[in-house]
Subunit: 455 residues, 2 copies
């Protein structure tokens, strides 16, 4: 791992220019939830890729278009970048210190909606490519990009796109859309995402609300039906009661536990950030907390709505009630299995009146922590960050990695420019320019070492 002085020098000198390109991208609103600027942003991303000599196609879907780009390199090995050009809604606007779609530099940070999630990841990869082209006039290996526009709305159409374009997307390694250092400035290697099955449960017991003075003892009450149905899903012992729910759960391996053991303590940070006094199951912290956080399947009520919710009292018996419920899945659970078992369970418990609406899902997926591609990404981080990258076998969040890991059969690793204060999804989202530069240097090393690795 030598010969990076020219590449690093290029990156050091041209940072401003790359930030300018990033600013142009971040100034283009592209809010998937509001169908705002998606086509324009896809075209802007496509232009940036075309400029680097990539052949690009934009495929419309029923939602946002998918951008695919490809350029051959010196060695016939292929690295695939998965990214997304869509961003979260900018609201609440009044909490931004500068307008969300007017990228603004302050104190070594660039502020804008979507700058971290995920636009700086896109341009930092392009910046690394610029440095490699400057270095040798060619790419060290084949590079493919798949950049979708619906990541913030559950990647609704990505699954089918990947399944239908398996050949086109084939690769030997994949760099995921995000990556970050933690609060110690240690770069983290996230190797798996939990799955998710998100449903809405709803009940309707009458066509209109009934006065509670009339109905309380003779009419069915939608709020009660929902309460009782929910209480059959999980009890105060936190055990999910749906038969078969745990059947396919793989417990963490010894290797997983060792990696989790090495991670820093989170208990005090969680307590102070969220204002909680204690964790479930009387867990204090340490390894048990970290294992429970990601290796336990969950059933979370995300919201409930029924009847009168204003101030004071209103004597009404609700005709309708609904709840949003989020199941986080661990290997090898699947959303299809959860949905099927949930319906069977509700019917068996006498709640066939409770409707299930499937609002989205992903299967969980992990890359082997000891995959040679992972080790390459980890190894190339150290000279850039000055400390070893730390492997995390699974994180609590979800994303569309299943289709990459299990349909493209490609190892997926993370490398990126995030940090704990990046405020993704929140007002004043920002990136640190020093980490942007490090991210680009890391990507340049990944590409170059990948081209000469034997794996």
């Amino acid at each position: 791992m030598d010969n990076y002085s020219k590449i690093d020098s290029y990156l050091d000198k041209n940072l401003d220019q790359s930030i300018e390109e990033l600013s142009k991208l971040a100034a283009q609103p592209s809010v998937a939830a509001q169908n705002l600027g998606l086509v324009e942003c896809a075209e802007l991303v496509a232009q940036m890729l075309t400029l680097r000599g990539f052949s690009v196609d934009i495929t419309p879907t029923e939602g946002a278009p998918v951008v695919f780009a490809e350029r051959k390199g010196r060695v016939d090995k292929t690295l695939l970048f998965y990214n997304h050009y869509d961003v979260q809604p900018a609201e609440p606007l009044e909490l931004w210190d500068s307008p969300p779609f007017e990228p603004t530099l302050r104190d070594g940070k660039l502020y804008a909606r979507g700058v971290s999630d995920d636009k700086a990841h896109i341009t930092s990869r392009l910046f690394a490519i610029d440095a490699l082209l400057d270095d040798s006039g060619e790419l060290p290996c084949n590079i493919k990009f798949i950049i979708e526009g619906e990541e913030e709305v559950s990647s609704i159409h990505l699954h089918n796109y990947v399944i239908n374009n398996r050949e086109k997307l084939s690769a030997d390694g994949c760099i995921w859309e995000f990556g970050s250092v933690d609060h110690r400035e240690v770069p983290m290697q996230y190797l798996g995402l939990r799955g998710i099955c998100y449903v809405e449960l709803s009940v309707e017991t009458a066509s209109i609300d009934v006065h509670s003075g009339i109905g309380g003892s003779i009419f069915p009450n939608a709020a009660w039906r929902l309460t009782w149905a929910l209480s059959t899903l999980k009890g105060p012992d936190e055990r999910i009661r749906i038969p078969g729910h745990y059947d396919n759960v793989l417990p963490p391996s010894q290797r997983d536990k060792a990696l989790m053991e090495a991670l820093p303590e989170v208990a005090e940070e969680y307590k102070s950030r969220y204002g909680v006094e204690k964790f479930l199951h009387d867990i204090d912290g340490g390894l048990p907390l970290r294992l429970a956080e990601v290796f336990e399947p969950t059933c979370t009520i995300c919201g409930i709505t029924s009847g009168y919710q204003g101030p004071g009292s209103k004597t009404v018996l609700p005709a309708r009630a609904s709840a949003k419920v989020d199941f986080r899945l661990v290997p090898n659970q699947t959303p299809e299995q959860v949905l099927k078992n949930l319906r069977l369970h509700l019917d068996a418990e006498g709640f066939s009146d409770v409707q299930i609406t499937y609002l989205g899902g992903e299967a969980p997926a992990r890359t082997d922590p000891d995959d040679p591609f992972v080790d390459l990404v980890v190894k190339t981080a150290e000279p850039v960050y000055g400390v070893p990258m730390q492997k995390v076998p699974l994180i609590g969040g979800s994303g569309p990695n299943y289709v990459f890991v299990h349909h493209l059969n490609v190892p997926v690793a993370t490398a990126g420019i995030g940090y704990p204060g990046t405020r993704a999804h929140a007002p004043n989202e920002n990136i640190r320019l020093d980490l942007y530069l490090k991210g680009a240097k890391h990507i340049a090393r990944i590409l170059k070492e990948f081209s000469i690795s034997t794996s």
Copy 2:
């Protein structure tokens, strides 16, 4: 019961004038929930009473003022009228065919907010008094009015006013604020109201919502805590599980059952009005349905709110959750007992984290269906309505009658001008002028017969 030709003729001739007075009263907004026009309306009501030679005082409370009025009559027996000058909010305004505070005559009906509930009841009583004064120059008996301004917000300050003015309010009989004919045009005599204990249950598990990808298996979830706590209050068998809840329940007597048996069938009307297919406990209708409707204590969830309630999915673990719960009480339950048992029960079930906020309550109260005063009110209805008045021992709703029945020790009966299409609390609230006239004729008869009765 003769000698009513002069009185009836006066009422027939002066209906327009009384409707004009009612229109003036209904044109004065007096919305307790919005603290709108209450003092002005109290003064208007006081003026109307002063005009009839009543001595009137207006007592401020921490809420709306209470109007009290008194005038002596020929015989030293006292009849007390309980009424209220406040009205429900007029919203939604767009559903009114004429503005809610511009009383409008159409097809023999007067439309305005509060015209039926309760302003026409006030002026129809005054109209009857006018006819009696025209007839003999004096009142047949002493008459007192207590007219509050907070009936639509649970009569918050009435209880203490009555307790503190027991002597002033003492009477031999009380006519309640409402009364009506049913869909057969049969006048109904409502002899009891259920009690109520209305609470809000709330839980807070963190200072801010947590991402469900992080928190699902390690953080307490307010929505789950609330769901589990609620499910301990009542199960799908509809039996309330709070220990002691049924201890003081008096089952209906044989006399109650006989009166309920005589009432018309409601099953088909309820099914079509509310769009329900079946009632609880597989009851089809008939006496079992009517008994269950009013003689069973209830525990009704009126509303639940927690977390994300918008369209689509949001992966959040709610820090807060709350539910409004309405217990309807039958004799001899009390709201104090319910509150105390509820706290003990939640603590015993492990839910001391669930806060209880008391939003209001009334104890149930009934007048003996065979009280001579009730029989007088019933008997005097028949010559006016042409059919016998029908006794209803208890209705499902609640109101502040307990303090009259059990602190003033006065029998309470109903007589009024309502009908099934009166749309109280809804847009296009209205009264029928023919029933307004009948109501006044009935009140005139009650007052005159009461003065000469031996009870």
